[in-house]
């Protein structure tokens, strides 16, 4: 009886402490999300990504072989001027490629001012309260992650579903590769001709989406890390751009392409269509998630030690 009472007391105490810890964190998290929701950068990014997805969808629904041909549409020519195998996997890969190459710069802008823009007077009125630097940093970091990944998933999940469900697969053949992985090839019926195009495999699609999500999370974390380390938003955004594109370039140029965004872009159509070996994919995504966590921890330490 006594033990039970003590246990209940301990549980209540633990819950109180958890609530006490969670409240300041959730306040910063919710406030930052509310501020982000009113941010023009986030709104512009959402609108642009949605618009781009719509254009890609329209292009995808048009005759697939027209791009690069004299009668092809301008949109099709812009999206894939050279590659003329626009299957559903390829279309999704195109969309994801844009996130890796172009939209990351929006992510840097969106996250580069997370903490640096608040340093000084506004931070005084937050950090002088009953909140630790870690709670503040975690609140800010997670809210930016949610915003970035939220916009990404909000656009990409419905788009991929539409492409996938409306891909019009007539015939599916399966080939076995030398590495033992599987490729699914679909024969897609176009209005006036048949083309060989890669179809979508659900697990491959999830892996493709997860790879880009992991990369975006890494970029968002770098942005928050820079904003926690530098006193100026302009500097953190500048450093963010230089390091994100610079690192991608260096990884591509050097013989260390495993983590490079270029390789990620190249592999996306194959991955989405199911041509992948599961273990390296898991290692790659895990590696990026691990790197994200490591950068977040390091910047949390920097944040906890710096003057605000």
């Amino acid at each position: 009886m006594w033990n039970q009472t003590r246990l209940v007391g301990l549980r209540e105490q633990l819950m109180r402490r958890l609530r006490r810890w969670f409240l300041p964190y959730s306040a910063v998290f919710a406030n930052d999300l509310a501020v982000l929701a009113q941010s023009w950068v986030l709104r512009a990014w959402l609108v642009l990504t949605a618009l781009f997805a719509l254009v890609t969808l329209l292009d995808h629904s048009s005759p697939p072989s027209t791009a690069g041909h004299p009668g092809g549409t301008i949109v099709a020519a812009l999206l894939h001027p050279v590659d003329t195998t626009p299957g559903p996997a390829h279309t999704i890969a195109q969309l994801l490629k844009f996130y890796v190459v172009v939209w990351v710069s929006f992510v840097v802008v969106l996250t580069g001012g997370t903490i640096s823009s608040e340093l000084g007077v506004v931070a005084d009125s937050v950090l002088s309260r009953g909140i630790s630097r870690w709670q503040y940093f975690l609140g800010k970091w997670t809210s930016r992650l949610v915003a970035v990944l939220g916009v990404y998933l909000l656009v990409m999940v419905p788009t991929t579903l539409v492409i996938w469900l409306g891909s019009g697969v007539d015939q599916v053949t399966t080939e076995t590769h030398s590495e033992g992985d599987i490729t699914t090839v679909a024969v897609v019926q176009a209005p006036n001709q048949f083309v060989i195009a890669r179809a979508i495999r659900p697990v491959g699609l999830v892996i493709g989406l997860a790879r880009v999500a992991a990369l975006l999370a890494l970029v968002a974390t770098c942005g928050v890390a820079f904003s926690a380390s530098f006193g100026s938003t302009v500097i953190s955004i500048g450093v963010g751009w230089v390091s994100i594109y610079g690192t991608g370039l260096i990884l591509s140029v050097l013989d260390f392409a495993y983590f490079s965004p270029a390789r990620l872009v190249q592999e996306l159509p194959s991955v989405i269509s199911g041509t992948y070996v599961a273990t390296p994919q898991a290692w790659l995504i895990g590696g990026w998630v691990g790197l994200t966590l490591a950068i977040a921890t390091l910047s949390g330490i920097v944040m906890a030690r710096r003057d605000v």
């Binding site: 006490r20 306040a27 506004v122 309260r129 009953g130 630790s132």
Partner: protein, 327 residues
């Protein structure tokens, strides 16, 4: 146990600027301390170190017997801070802002909600409670900042220039509130307005160029002053006032007398007794045929005391470094 104690507190920014140099202060619980000093003296740096917003380059800060660090959230739950001209999130309303501050202090909803309602009423922002903060005046924002600093019912209040930018009515409200709050709390008040400090505080800490130059009661601060300086406000013809000044300056007990319009500033010779020479001066003035409007001791003004402290500290120059070493 002291409310706030610092030992040899030093803050150097980026190895370029010495903001605070070996400051050791101790504030007893219940004290109302005025933090004084000219611009750049290190007042705000000291406050930021007390709150754990900055980390000391050397020395330490203890609040309620525990070391203050950037992650000492539990300790900050016992402190209420009002920054100078608080800049608050513009998209919030007074209600959402106080709710936010309550959450930052980890207050559960059943405590937070009634308290924020009481605070809004107490600082007279009921009519503006639904307005966005971007539309509030400086006075309203300061009042909201005051409410925010009280949300956690703190044992220690640290207010940095609370009357900055306020109109006379709002200033009076803030001073009265400080007096009321200081009855059962420790209050550290940083202000350029020495009248405010004089009215509210019972202790003073004076900083100059990052160094502590005085720590003690307000009485002790004033007691260090020139007790033999007086100013007479006269009325009468200019010629008569000039005659009065000339006659006063001839008195043996008067070291100097200077006139500035209808006022005569006099300095008596060093003497334990001030009453007799002063009576002599007043007689001389009366004999010159001018009326006396007012008389006051310049030495008993906090402003004079403060200025003299700062001046004498600056005059000491290099000897300060030697003193610090000896200490």
């Amino acid at each position: 146990m002291s409310a706030v104690e610092t030992h040899n507190l030093t803050k150097i920014y980026q190895n370029r600027h010495i903001a605070l140099n070996g400051v050791t202060v101790c504030t007893e619980p219940g004290a109302i301390v005025g933090l004084l000093g000219p611009n750049g003296a290190g007042k705000t740096t000291l406050i930021r170190l007390i709150l754990g917003l900055h980390r000391p380059s050397a020395g330490w800060v203890e609040v309620f017997g525990r070391q203050m660090t950037p992650n000492a959230a539990v300790l900050r739950c016992r402190v209420g801070y009002l920054p100078t001209a608080p800049r608050l999130p513009p998209q919030m309303t007074p209600i959402t802002y106080l709710d936010y501050v309550g959450k930052l202090f980890g207050l559960p909803g059943e405590v937070r909600k009634p308290r924020l309602a009481a605070m809004i009423r107490a600082v007279d922002l009921l009519g503006a409670s639904a307005q966005k903060l971007s539309g509030l005046s400086t006075g309203m924002l300061t009042r909201l900042g005051i409410a925010a600093s009280l949300m956690n019912e703190p044992e220690l209040l640290v207010w940095d220039e609370p009357t900055y930018g306020l109109d006379p009515e709002a200033r009076r409200f803030t001073i009265d509130l400080m007096k009321e709050l200081a009855r059962n709390r420790t209050l550290i008040l940083s202000s350029h307005l020495l009248h405010d400090v004089d009215e509210v505080c019972d202790h003073a800490v004076v900083l100059n160029q990052g160094q502590l130059i005085f720590q003690g009661t307000m009485g002790e601060l004033k007691g260090r002053m020139r007790r033999n300086h007086f100013e007479l406000q006269l009325e009468g013809k200019t010629k008569a006032i000039e005659t009065a000044r000339a006659n006063v300056s001839k008195l043996a007990s008067v070291r100097s007398a200077s006139a500035a319009g209808p006022r005569i500033a006099i300095e008596l010779t060093e003497s334990k007794d001030v009453a007799s020479p002063l009576a002599e001066v007043l007689m001389t003035v009366a004999e010159a045929g001018v009326g006396l409007v007012s008389i006051h001791s310049k030495g008993q003004q906090t402003e004079e005391a403060f200025l003299e402290l700062v001046e004498s500290d600056e005059a000491r120059g290099f000897t300060r470094a030697t003193d610090a070493k000896a200490a």
